[in-house]
């Protein structure tokens, strides 16, 4: 994907899906790289996030292979406003060297927000039909994921709020 094309007003479905996959691949490798560097007590968090990204990548590739979607790969669609944030985030994770759990979660939440906005806009820009449904689906997936992370954030950061009793392994 050339820089020039990335800045033009229109793009193709294939490029959009490729950008999305790239977004997830970058994140996956970012989290995977972080795993050994992060303290063991919060490593589960990064491991979970890496697993989630991998799941997204698989989902996108499965989508691309869907013959019906594949038929639309060259369709032109309007490039979303959120796209710049989206592609930027794919390249430049702003996370320190030794992040704590809250930082990791805030970073992950911000990424989910970008992805939601991207897919929602794409869905809005497409006519009702297969593509519209696909982007809608992707936006919902990200929304669900973000909701999970929000709940986790509340549980971890607002400890006074939720005394955790699930640690005792019976």
């Amino acid at each position: 994907m050339s820089k020039a094309k990335a800045l033009s007003k229109m793009t193709t479905v294939g490029e959009v899906l490729e950008a999305a996959a790239e977004f997830d691949r970058e994140a996956h490798s970012f989290y995977t790289d972080l795993i050994p560097r992060i303290s063991k007590n919060i490593r589960y968090l990064v491991e979970d996030l890496a697993r989630d990204e991998l799941r997204h990548i698989r989902m996108l590739s499965k989508l691309a292979k869907n013959p019906e979607v594949a038929a639309h790969m060259q369709d032109e669609i309007k490039r979303p406003q959120a796209d710049r944030k989206f592609t930027d985030a794919a390249h430049a994770p702003e996370l320190g060297d030794n992040p704590d759990d809250q930082e990791v979660l805030l970073y992950a939440l911000a990424r989910e927000q970008i992805a939601i906005e991207e897919y929602s806009e794409l869905a809005e820009n497409t006519e009702p039909g297969l593509l519209h449904d696909t982007f809608q689906f992707l936006a919902n997936e990200e929304r669900k994921h973000k909701a999970d992370l929000e709940a986790l954030y509340y549980e971890i950061v607002h400890t006074a709020a939720a005394p955790l009793r699930h640690n005792r392994q019976h």
């Binding site: 007590n41 709940a151 971890i156 607002h158 005394p163 640690n167 392994q169």
Partner: protein, 601 residues
């Protein structure tokens, strides 16, 4: 003559309709309030067994019907109609109003055993019958109203840190203790399984020595818990279904108030003979010191290491003195010391002594370090020097260190810690400026509020403003000028829903409802974290973790065979839960030491 003829008046009755007729087809229902066969609303019944206790004919047995849970024993009354005298005292005394009597009274059967059944469980024709005897109005055989607890007025308490709650007098405590029905449903809910009905009975019998002994059998932090316990027991109290729950926490405190402190150690008794085994405990909060107390009483040598100036952990450094006077905490700690526990203060593990050293020098090590790191919202502006978190501030106040006291400040958070810091700062403001200027903004609405209702009420009495359902968006700072970078206020949005339909945290904000709460300082009181950095890299790596916390088994043992962990740092913040943890860990360590002893001989 009249005497001879008058009797023939009787003859006129010959031609009258008979007044008694045999009608085998139609029921003759009992009166509306007839006391017939029992009915029991299984959903309402909590299996407290008060009906069984009051039955003067021993007609009622409590039989298992469902699994027990908090505040419900799962037992339900089974009635033997060979004994029932239909006096309905069981209905009158019923704590929930679940037990009633139908107006059905006709039932014939050749098998006598069927006249013993469990109302509400066994299908009977009268189960749905609406008429019959019900307790008219409220429970009258035991009082439904809690004895009022005296406390100092807002005016009297706002410029000092003196204890607010007065404590019950003997007369008041007797009246309150009299309300208990001794069902014991609370015992399972109390994390430490304190002998609640028994010590309340001791108050009724004015046997405070016995009461104190009962307290210390299960809780060496009775002074503390008598004041600041989360009192889950009171949410399981049978009395709460029809009136106020028994003031269990205040009654516990009353016992400690009544027994002269000099007598405590005598009443509790001496520890067992020394075993020669050594245990090190990191952190002198309720979990650590309860473990220490138990182990010391079992005869083991216990040393507790505390990073701060004084022992006590969260109760000292997290709870303000107006709720828990520190000399009361010291009384609890001194009893624990009297059992032979050594407490070494000003010693931070990981710096002064490593975990490795502790491991080498002891038979077991217990990690009970609590949650002493304050969490930050990390919203924009949170890095300003005028922003602080609650926990370190509370610690400074306890240690008498200087803290900034601006005229106007905002607290973010809706839990008890938020109330603690807000009320502490309000007092300091009152002393310094002669007025209170504290605003609390909580994400949760009052329907889902986290802080105790009493805390909210008392905060307001003290002039603290509380905004509920406000999501913090930005700590507004001066962008230029002499005060550049200093806090100007807190910008919040209305949080119109905080949980999604599955009850998960998923806040939704109404951006149009924006407020800026002016302040010179913002204190974040949203949550705490454990400082696990003291473990060192190797131990952190060696340990098993579960969702950010050290993984422990039911007995509090970690994946390392020499290390146990207890209290807030593994189970979240709760004093009495920490005490319960301490008991469990002590039992487990003692069992391990006994096994070692056996292997050695």
């Amino acid at each position: 003559m009249r005497d001879v003829l008058s009797p023939f008046t009787a003859w006129k009755h010959l031609f009258r309709e008979p007044v008694t007729v045999l009608d085998p087809l139609n029921d003759r229902p009992g009166a509306d309030r007839y006391r017939g066969f029992h009915q029991n609303d299984l959903e309402k019944c909590i299996g407290c067994g008060t009906c069984e206790v009051i039955c003067q004919n021993a007609a009622i047995d409590m039989v298992p019907v469902s699994d027990p849970e908090d505040g419900d024993s799962g037992l339900r009354p089974m009635i033997d109609y060979g004994r029932c005298c239909w006096c309905a005292l069981c209905v009158d005394v019923c704590m929930t109003g679940s037990l009633t009597m139908s107006n059905d009274y006709v039932w014939a059967d050749a098998n006598p055993d069927v006249f013993r059944f469990t109302p509400g469980v066994d299908p009977k024709p009268w189960n749905e019958e609406e008429k019959g005897y019900q307790r008219p109005g409220a429970r009258v055989l035991a009082s439904t109203e809690r004895v009022h607890m005296g406390e100092r007025t807002a005016k009297d308490r706002i410029d000092n840190f003196e204890e607010i709650v007065a404590g019950y007098t003997r007369e008041e405590a007797m009246i309150e203790a009299d309300r208990c029905v001794e069902c014991g449903l609370c015992v399972a809910t109390c994390p430490a399984h304190m002998d609640i009905p028994d010590y309340i009975k001791a108050i009724r019998e004015q046997d405070y020595d016995k009461g104190l002994q009962l307290l210390y059998q299960t809780n060496p932090f009775s002074e503390v818990c008598g004041r600041v316990c989360t009192h889950n027991c009171e949410t399981a109290c049978a009395a709460r279904h029809d009136g106020d729950p028994i003031a269990i926490r205040w009654l516990k405190r009353h016992i400690t108030d009544e027994v002269p402190y000099e007598r405590y150690v005598d009443l509790i008794g001496k520890p067992e003979a020394a075993t020669g085994r050594k245990v090190a405990i990191v952190g002198s909060g309720p979990a650590g010191l309860t473990t220490a107390y138990d182990l010391a009483r079992m005869g083991h040598k216990v040393v507790v290491y505390e990073a701060r100036k004084s022992p006590g952990g969260m109760p000292r450094y997290g709870i303000p003195e107006y709720r828990l006077p520190y000399d009361m905490l010291d009384r609890d700690i001194d009893v624990i010391r009297a059992m032979g526990v050594e407490i070494v203060c000003n010693t931070r593990i990981g710096e002064d002594i490593t975990m490795e050293t502790l491991r080498a020098d002891n038979d077991a090590v217990v990690l009970s370090i609590g949650l002493h790191l304050g969490r930050s919202t990390r919203i924009p502006g949170a890095e300003s020097p005028d922003v602080d978190t609650a926990v370190p501030l509370l610690r400074k106040i306890t240690d008498g260190e200087e803290v900034p006291v601006p005229e106007k400040l905002v607290v973010i958070g809706g839990g008890n810690v938020a109330m603690d810091i807000a009320r502490s700062m309000a007092r300091l403001q009152q002393v310094k400026h002669g007025k209170v200027g504290v605003t609390v903004t909580a994400l949760e609405s009052f329907d889902h509020f986290l802080a105790d209702a009493d805390e909210v009420r008392e905060s307001r009495e003290e002039g603290i403003e509380i905004f509920d359902a406000r999501g913090p968006q930005e700590i507004v700072t001066f962008k230029s000028g002499k005060r550049k970078g200093r806090v100007k206020g807190l910008r919040t949005w209305l949080c119109d829903s905080i949980f999604d339909d599955q009850g998960r945290f998923n806040p939704h904000y109404d951006e149009s409802d924006e407020l800026v709460h002016p302040a010179d300082m913002v204190i974040e009181a949203i949550g705490q974290a454990a400082d696990v950095s003291i473990l060192g890299k190797d131990l952190t790596e060696a340990l098993e973790w579960t969702r950010g916390r050290i993984r422990v088994d039911v007995d509090g043992q970690t994946s390392e065979p020499w290390l146990w962990s207890a209290g807030d740092c593994v189970n979240g913040p709760d004093v009495v839960h920490a005490v319960a943890d301490g008991h469990r860990v002590a039992q487990s360590i003692n069992a391990m030491l006994a096994a070692k002893e056996e292997a050695a001989t």
